[in-house]
Symmetry: C2
Subunit: 189 residues, 2 copies
């Protein structure tokens, strides 16, 4: 019973209880300890992952500067997958790592195909998820291009209060493309 994911799906499409039971059979639970990797830069992503609880970070490693650049955070009810790598079986461009003990449920590539074949109404759900994510990326680009660092920080806190709570400030700084010191200064006002 992957209740949290059921609820998420039912917000977008209709599924009967029997269908949900079939659905569950394709997925497995997994627990990641703090610091454990879900996916590493250069590997092929073979699972699609849904976060039930905890927190993950996804980051690029900047080869020249040697720094980690946060691409996104994933907390409960978010997906944490490199879709390009998962679908096209190309090496992943980024790394996904647990920030704390994290419960996820995951599905392997082949099981994912089988599931969509047996429950085709899920195509729609996954397209909706993709589009929502796409919309949020577009919004983020505009925010980055048009808002000052301080505005961006406040915007982040307002939009993602749960993430702001559990993620250290220097990672939020990286996500926002500003320095950790500057976030300190913003807060002291």
């Amino acid at each position: 019973m992957h209740l949290k994911l059921h609820q998420n799906i039912l917000q977008h499409i209709k599924m009967t209880e029997e269908e949900m039971i079939l659905f569950d059979s394709y997925w497995t639970e997994r627990v990641l300890q703090k610091g454990e990797y879900l996916l590493r830069n250069g590997e092929l992503s073979i699972t699609d992952n849904y976060v039930v609880s905890g927190a993950l970070k996804a980051f690029y490693i900047n080869p020249t500067r040697g720094t980690e650049e946060i691409l996104f955070f994933a907390i409960e009810d978010w997906w944490a997958t490199d879709l390009l790598s998962f679908n096209k079986q190309k090496p992943s461009n980024y790394t996904i790592q647990a920030l704390e003990t994290t419960h996820i449920i995951q599905i392997h590539r082949q099981a994912f195909q089988d599931m969509l074949a047996s429950l085709p109404q899920l195509e729609r759900y996954f397209r909706i998820i993709l589009e929502s994510y796409l919309g949020s990326l577009q919004r983020r680009i505009i925010v980055q291009n048009t808002m000052a660092a301080e505005e961006r920080y406040h915007d982040f806190i307002a939009h993602y209060p749960l993430i702001a709570q559990k993620v250290p400030q220097y990672l939020i700084a990286s996500y926002l493309g500003i320095s950790p010191e500057f976030i300190s200064r913003i807060k002291n006002k």
Copy 2:
């Protein structure tokens, strides 16, 4: 015969000639004159649009500053649609306008549904397109967060030489989140 789109589709999935003839029946051609709007901020997007030739810009209007912030350009073989608006029938957040005489082919919402029902293998094509776009947005966020203005400009020229050719510099500046003056200075080196 929407040849350019056929070629694009055949790069990703298989379709027979008969299927392509059926495919074509759902689409209509349209020509936009320079300055003409394909979609305006606040409207519902009722068509999905594929650019055959010409160039379009998509931009947010920054309400406080009153400026246009470029979200993307679309030239030949690109899609130019507000997907969130098209699929969820929500008011669009941005405006799409022709930068020069532009030939597009478009499909209405209902026709799009009908087409997917009659040619279900297209689901895959559109998912691939969506994912590619997602990858490019993720890349753009990293570039914006980690590269200096000058690097970003060179990166843009290297990745999108065709766009750089036909789009005025001050719009590229907006896309990159830098000032037009600074691009001038970059070029004089």
